[in-house]
């Protein structure tokens, strides 16, 4: 018990405290100015925009994937089921490297996509692709247990009462699936905002164009602009805290649904 608290405080509380104390050294006006430079604003916009699109893509495809994996039997199902966790297991640097290569002009996919005008590497689209990859398991894994424990009888009775399959899905199944999908979406979104490793490779990191907020922190640090780096870090930290609270509330809400 004492050990736990000691370890936690040494590793979590002191570092965060250090960051906060450093920020308090800045005046409010200084903080605001550093947090809202044009370059920082462009980076936030890109980070949030790309994360949002990627999390949405994950919500759609993750739901589809979870549905297919729990409801249908088809060759390769077990392999795919095991592979869904691959983005968690693969180091982000490797993910970024291989995705950048796939979508580059001479890559396996880029070869066909670039002539069509779809440039995946060194563009905002590339960032979305990398974030989609990284966040993919979240929705699938939050949804799968819910789908597995879903009672078929409810669907059956809906069908016996004359509801068509689409109507059963929309009125009976979808409302139950919504809470876990939203939780998975929030998890993927939170992960995407902090993501760094995979993006560095695929985005090209051009200021104002393809520079994400975590990368800007690293840039500030390399310029020995500690105040700038810390300010941006605190902004991201506040956002992660807020998302953590939202996710916990969502999980409670979703838990209520499953029990009730």
């Amino acid at each position: 018990m004492g050990f736990t608290l000691f370890y936690l405080s040494a590793l979590v509380i002191i570092p965060i405290g250090g960051l906060v104390v450093r920020t308090l050294g800045l005046s409010w006006a200084e903080f605001w100015e550093l947090a809202t430079t044009d370059r920082a604003l462009a980076a936030y916009k890109l980070t949030f925009g790309a994360s949002l699109i990627a999390a949405l893509a994950n919500a759609i495809f993750g739901t589809l994937l979870a549905w297919v994996l729990t409801r249908y039997e088809f060759p390769g199902r077990r392999i795919i089921d095991a592979m869904v966790d691959f983005p968690f297991a693969l180091p982000t640097a490797v993910a970024g490297l291989t995705l950048a290569n796939l979508f580059a002009a001479n890559g396996w996919l880029g070869k066909y996509l670039v002539p069509l005008g779809v440039k995946g590497a060194y563009t905002p689209l590339g960032i979305v692709i990398a974030l989609t990859f990284v966040g993919m398991p979240f929705v699938v894994r939050t949804l799968q247990p819910v789908l597995e424990s879903f009672e078929r009888e409810v669907e059956e009775s809906a069908a016996t009462l004359g509801a068509g399959r689409l109507r059963t899905f929309l009125t009976i199944i979808a409302p139950t699936l919504l809470p876990p999908v939203i939780t998975g979406f929030a998890l993927a979104f939170a992960r995407a905002i902090g993501e760094y490793g995979s993006i560095v490779f695929i985005s090209g990191n051009l200021p104002f164009k393809t520079e994400i907020a975590p990368y800007l922190i690293v840039m500030r640090l390399e310029e020995y602009d500690y105040a700038g780096a810390i300010t941006l870090a605190v902004v991201l930290l506040i956002i992660s805290f807020a998302l953590l609270v939202v996710i916990n509330l969502l999980e409670q809400w979703a838990g209520k649904f499953v029990k009730g």
Binding site: T4, Y7, L8, L11, V12, I13, I14, P15, I16, G18, L19, V21, R22, F61, L64, L65, Y72, A82, M83, D85, F86, A89, L90, P91, T92, A93, V94, L97, T98, L102, G107, W108, R152, E155, E156, A158, A159, T160, G164, R165, T168, A190, R191, G194, E195, Y196, G197, F201, P214, Y215, V218, Y226, I230, A233, L236, L237, S240, F241, L244, N248
Partner: protein, 312 residues
């Protein structure tokens, strides 16, 4: 009358079957889309790593891996994992123990704190340690006077890795320990076992699978961590480059095949991790179903089925 009921039931049955399954075309469209998505986002990236690594042949691959700088990166990565994983196993056990077996104030806060590294950006995590131990940091002056280096040196890399990976073991263990409760431990204690014996013979075996699972995940992340390590390492070639950092450096030097060669090792690690995880899950469910099957005689047969309906 009886025949009439039977026919109605039959109809209802056919209809319900139709009603709970999608039409074939919809089913296969969904499967195809899912497969395509997996192809682009799972299988192509994986295959591409190995294809690019071997694109210039075995000798180039081998040469890239045995290059002194790559080799030292491999050794550093192994060292970092060898230190940070055991540390987090001990912490994970202690934290899960404290959370599952005792009631105390601030428990919810403790759980939130344990989850924190999952939601903090790795870059921010690295920066926190720079703020503490960097030259301009709180302890920077003191460390400098005593000629100790944490930031831009191996201790910093280990610290950052420990921070990033510490939720894994604890997160796996907390639900298992909570579900197991503390009855067995109390029984062992009343029968005269001391605390340590109880832990070794009662607690540890009951969380065995979860623990192994947590260690595997923790290890995979420790070896692959990029963002946090990149901030604190200082990128000194041959000294503070871990494997992911080495990949980035090679990539920026346009040494594609060499970067992919190092990456292929990490991809292999990911595959092994997934394989072990799948085997563990399978074993666990096997044990679970065996445990459920042991008293099959006591269970009453499910009510309903043919008998019930025929009687109607």
């Amino acid at each position: 009358m009886a025949g009439n009921t039977k026919r109605n039931l039959g109809e209802g049955h056919a209809k319900s079957k139709r009603g709970t399954e999608e039409p074939l075309w919809a089913k296969w469209t969904l499967i195809t889309i899912a497969m395509l998505f997996c192809l682009v986002f799972l299988f192509l990236p994986l295959v591409n790593v190995f294809a690019q690594a071997f694109s210039k042949g075995w000798s180039v691959y081998w040469h890239a891996l045995t290059h002194p700088d790559s080799w030292s990166a491999i050794k550093l990565t192994l060292l970092v994992a060898a230190i940070s994983v055991p540390l987090n196993v001990v912490f994970g056990l202690a934290a899960a123990w404290a959370i599952a077996k005792f009631e105390f104030r601030g428990k919810a806060l403790l759980i939130t704190l344990i989850d924190l590294p999952f939601s903090v950006s790795p870059v921010v995590a690295g920066l926190m340690f720079v703020v503490l131990f960097g030259l301009q940091g709180f302890f920077g002056g003191w460390l400098n006077d005593h000629n100790l280096r944490i930031i831009f040196a191996v201790p910093g890399i280990i610290l950052a890795t420990v921070f990033i990976t510490f939720p894994f073991v604890a997160r796996e263990l907390i639900p298992i320990m909570q579900a197991a409760g503390s009855d067995q431990e109390q029984a062992a204690l009343t029968m005269g076992a001391n605390g340590w014996q109880t832990f070794w013979h009662v607690t540890l075996p009951s969380v065995k699978w979860g623990l192994i699972y947590g260690i595997i995940l923790c290890n995979a992340r420790a070896m692959g961590e990029f963002g946090a390590v990149s901030v604190v390492s200082g990128h000194i070639t041959g000294q503070t480059d871990t494997m992911p950092l080495r990949i980035e450096k090679l990539y920026n030097e346009y040494q594609g095949p060499a970067a992919f060669a190092v990456a292929s090792l990490l991809a292999l690690l990911a595959l092994v991790t997934l394989g072990l995880k799948t085997v563990l899950e399978w074993k666990q469910s096997l044990e679970f179903s065996r445990a459920q099957q042991t008293p099959p005689v006591k269970r009453a047969p499910p009510i309903g089925a043919d008998g019930g309906i025929a009687g109607m």
